[in-house]
């Protein structure tokens, strides 16, 4: 049984009509292919129409769509099954919310890393809803260093509602684990691509989000906080989540406009969940193209460009005349 979001109601109706028509055809043997064709055409139009003008909050909903493909589905499809999952941070345990391993595309080895959400209630708990603990970030870093050692490019797939805010996460240094990844990823000698495929919430997302190219799928979001939590903090209630989603400028379009990401990956008509296979192939192409370009650049230069890109982010106001900063010796104030 497919799941439809509230604004997808017209899509649901059309899908049901198509199914009905097909059933009638089967039972009565009357040719209704003309009707179904017309309905299918209508469906495409309606999907395009609805998805062309989603509000920021609706995009957040799409990013969390229960049928939206998750990290492992991408990796398996992209590598055509040539994926060897690797486990453990070598310190505490294996975090099920963070997955990774070597995979092959066109006979070339890549390191894939990403947060993994569960596909049903049981798996959601097993995957801790895609919220990694410190050992998840340390596992990710271990795999990145492994890739670096053997000169393999890194692809991270970001999809998390945040780093896990639990007691043991605090004991084991959630903050330190993320911070360590940020500083280490800045200096990785191999090319790194980061793709937000669903939710990109805050430090939990950024913890595997430092790359030469940071891309977002059309219907994903990326910000410092989820719209619900932003609403709770600023308005003291969840009711302003739509407003918060708008204010945060968290969509791929806005993020690109603000130069906080490097590009957007188009989704199939009706979103990634409407045609996962097409989505996987698009992502695969993007990875191959970008890595090829990045590998042509000298690694020192790549690191410098990566650092400069992040250092250019931010908007500050300064007086026109800059105070001279020659004197190293402290002056009396």
């Amino acid at each position: 049984m497919a799941t439809y979001l509230d604004f997808e109601e017209p899509i649901k109706e059309l899908v049901e009509q198509i199914e009905q028509a097909k059933q009638i055809e089967e039972k009565s043997k009357v040719d209704v292919s003309k009707t179904t064709k017309a309905l299918e055409k209508k469906l495409k139009e309606v999907q395009t129409e609805i998805y062309s003008k989603l509000t920021p909050w609706q995009r957040v909903q799409v990013s969390r769509h229960p049928e939206r493909p998750y990290t492992l589905s991408y990796i398996k499809a992209i590598t055509n099954g040539n994926f060897l999952e690797l486990h453990g941070d070598r310190t505490v345990k294996d975090d099920k919310a963070m997955v990774g391993g070597f995979g092959e595309i066109d006979g070339k080895t890549y390191m894939f890393i990403g947060q993994q959400k569960g596909i049903n209630t049981k798996m959601r708990q097993y995957r801790n809803f895609g919220m990694a603990n410190p050992e998840g970030y340390r596992k990710a870093l271990r795999l990145m260093h492994l890739a670096e050692k053997f000169g393999k490019p890194i692809v991270t797939l970001i999809d998390t509602p945040g780093a896990f805010p639990g007691l043991e996460a605090e004991e084991r240094g959630q903050g330190e684990a993320i911070a360590r990844n940020l500083i280490e990823m800045m200096q990785l000698t191999v090319p790194v691509i980061c793709i937000v495929i669903g939710e990109g919430a805050s430090g939990g997302a950024l913890g595997i989000g430092i790359g030469d190219k940071v891309l977002m799928l059309e219907n994903s979001w990326y910000s410092v906080i989820s719209p619900e939590n932003c609403s709770t903090i600023l308005w003291r209630t969840w009711d302003f989540k739509e407003k918060a989603a708008e204010a945060l400028k968290l969509t791929a379009d806005d993020m690109l406009k603000n130069k906080l990401i490097d590009g957007i990956i188009k989704e199939p008509i009706g979103g990634a969940h409407a045609n996962p296979e097409e989505m996987f192939q698009t992502v695969r192409k993007e990875i191959v193209t970008h890595i090829k370009k990045l590998e042509a650049v000298d690694s020192e230069k790549r690191i410098e460009e990566r650092i400069n890109k992040f250092c250019d982010m931010g908007v500050v106001v300064e007086p026109k005349v800059k105070a001279p900063r020659k004197s190293v010796a402290a002056k009396a104030k």
Binding site: A163, F164, P165, G166, L167, A169, E170, E171, R172, G173, Q174, G175, E176, I178, A179, R180, L182, I183, E184, M186, Q187, S202, G203, L206, G207, G209, I210, Y222, S223, V224, I225, C230, I233, L234, W235, A247, L248, K249, L250, M255, N258, L260, R306, I307, F310, C311, M313, G314, V315, V316, V317, E318, P319, A323, R325, V328, A329, A330, K331, K333
Partner: protein, 287 residues
């Protein structure tokens, strides 16, 4: 001990209030400091002289960037860097108030430009670049200015080969700058990776409170991480953790002592010994 005067409550000798209004003496506000932990009361001047540390129980009251500069730098002398940098409003953010109005009001109230100040000066025989956060400015939250000033302070360290001290004191990200705020974590970490490559010492002092994106970026990345007694240090705030686990938190949860015990700090230092300790550390790196 009861005196005649106290007893006069019950046996009123004179009628009514006899002091004319114009002779009434106002008690200046903030004349006394009462320790929130042990309730010990001292004259405010003495408390400030004592670097805002309770003389009775050692409770460390939050201090400002100015106070840290005065404590750390020789004779309290320093050169401030990028003193006039202020926040833009890239997202035209409005919640219950316009972000620009919030900034203006906070600047007026705190006499600060934003939540961090950076300076260079001498400490003992050493030079030191210091970035110190001000909690009074929107909870010490990190927006573009905080990230940019820290980044430039690190640049200054690298250009002049001077060790860097970061004094963190912040609730985390500045929501009104959303993803711009998030990316300051990346920016500061990028600069620290260059500082590290240049093999210039970085000391991170985590003071009360250091949480969220601050902990998850520069605060935890010191060559040496230190803190003050009792400081709150964590990634998620205690309320959020409590809601997540649905249980009461251990008594010392997320205190500096707890974080030290779990291996994320090198030592805890009393503010009154901070300068001496910093000099010791700097000398050890130098010699």
């Amino acid at each position: 001990m009861e005196t005649e005067e106290q007893m006069s409550w019950f046996k009123r000798i004179k009628e009514g209030i006899l002091t004319p209004t114009k002779e009434k003496k106002e008690l200046p506000e903030g004349l006394w400091y009462s320790c929130p932990k042990c309730k010990h009361v001292v004259p405010n001047n003495d408390h400030i002289e004592n670097q805002k540390v309770c003389e009775e129980c050692g409770y460390h009251e939050r201090a400002s960037s100015e106070e840290y500069f005065k404590i750390i730098f020789n004779d309290g002398k320093y050169l401030e860097l990028d003193a006039d940098m202020t926040s833009g409003d890239p997202l035209k953010f409005t919640d219950t108030k316009k972000y620009t109005d919030r900034l203006k009001a906070t600047q007026k109230k705190t006499k600060l430009k934003d939540a961090v100040r950076t300076a260079v000066g001498e400490i003992g025989d050493n030079q030191l670049v210091v970035a110190a956060m001000d909690f009074a400015f929107i909870g010490g939250s990190m927006g573009s200015v905080v990230g940019e000033k820290i980044a430039r302070a690190i640049d200054y360290s690298i250009a002049n080969n001077i060790p860097f001290l970061m004094i963190s004191k912040s609730g985390g990200a500045r929501m009104m700058e959303a993803a711009f705020s998030l990316m300051q974590m990346a920016k500061t970490s990028a600069k620290l990776s260059q500082l590290s490559k240049a093999k210039i010492p970085y000391i991170s002092l985590l003071t009360d409170p250091t949480t969220g994106g601050i902990t998850a970026s520069f605060a935890m990345l010191g060559d040496i991480n230190i803190s003050e007694p009792g400081a709150l240090i964590g990634f998620a705030g205690p309320r959020v953790v409590k809601e997540t686990i649905g249980k009461d938190l251990p008594k010392d949860f997320q205190t500096a002592e707890f974080v030290l015990e779990h291996g994320f700090l090198d030592f805890i230092v009393n503010r009154k010994e901070l300068k001496q300790k910093l000099i010791q550390v700097l000398n050890l790196f130098k010699k």
